[in-house]
Symmetry: C2
Subunit: 198 residues, 2 copies
């Protein structure tokens, strides 16, 4: 199904042909189309492995274009995950460590409870290797660092980043990725309570 | 490379042809060859998506044979994970909950620290969907249940399965799958210590 928001193009030739637009413009459109195709395909859950030809066909571009730009499915998934998981989440600032961590846990539980997000995380872990894993966890870890750093700036002694990762971040990811148990707010709050009772 | 333990076959025709062996025998050999091909391919980490034709070629069988038997890459990976993660680990019985959980955490850390195991877990999560995730966690969860049940039988009140999963199982899987931090024995012991200090 074509995206309804795209402007009408002139008689659309094959994606490889010159279209009169600036290279940067075309390049950006290819990126959007390929990223969207990946996000759609990982949600389909056909149980088939994702391949570049399949992504290219769904995006309406030549497979060679995708190979040239991303190299492999793993690098492509890492790129999609990086752009999906970067910079779209504000670090909570409620004035207390407990409040910040609860807000953080609620936000992450909600995000991982979204089937599109979960499908992308699973697919990226599956094919994106270490680069993909880093893309999935990177921003989340930096947010925790910011929350813990703010508590230190208040003159308190927060738990370490390692301990907070083990006690809050890890159970959220484990439950989302490995089980079909729901990530409820009460359960997420319990994770923070156990950490701060240590 | 042919497996050195295979008995010499008569002039090997294509895998689909009759070879004079019992169907069960051939079927079992196909299963072994396909499982081995999957285990090798997931370790290769080329960043390419795993597909049935690629698995079939590596295993030396027809792709149709693989499609007919497993249906999809996802179901195939779930089957490989089920057979890999079932029944090969003894539940520790050291006489104390702490001892059992520490042994359990060490064993799991060692297992997930093995690159072959980790590659299979990642690939199965990526393509095997809920069935694959269940195959990866199933036996591990049952072992925890057995450990906690034994503590109850001793008249004690162990932490719940949910709490133990969050505090011990989840950090082990998160660190293995999402980071490249080592799963050291000291760190694993610390997870148990935090749980039992609750």
């Amino acid at each position: 199904m074509p995206a309804p928001t795209s402007p009408p193009s002139s008689t659309g030739g094959p994606a490889g042909g010159p279209t009169g637009s600036r290279p940067g413009g075309r390049s950006a459109r290819v990126r959007v189309a390929v990223h969207r195709a990946v996000q759609e395909l990982v949600v389909d859950e056909t149980g088939e492995g994702l391949t570049i030809p399949v992504v290219a066909a769904r995006a309406g571009v030549h497979a060679t274009t995708v190979y040239r730009r991303w190299g492999s499915v793993g690098e492509l998934l890492a790129d999609v995950a990086t752009s999906r998981f970067s910079g779209d989440i504000v670090v909570p600032d409620t004035g207390s460590l407990r409040g910040d961590l609860e807000r953080y846990a609620f936000d992450l539980a909600k995000d991982l409870g979204d089937p599109d997000t979960l499908a992308l995380v699973r697919a990226t872990i599956g094919t994106g290797g270490e680069q993909g894993a880093a893309a999935c966890r990177g921003e989340r870890q930096r947010q925790l660092e910011a929350i813990l750093g703010r508590e230190q700036a208040r003159g308190e002694e927060p738990p370490s980043l390692e301990r907070t990762t083990d006690a809050v971040l890890a159970p959220l990811y484990y439950r989302a990725v490995f089980t079909d148990d729901p990530l409820t707010p009460d359960w997420a709050r319990g994770l923070v309570a156990h950490l701060l009772a240590d």
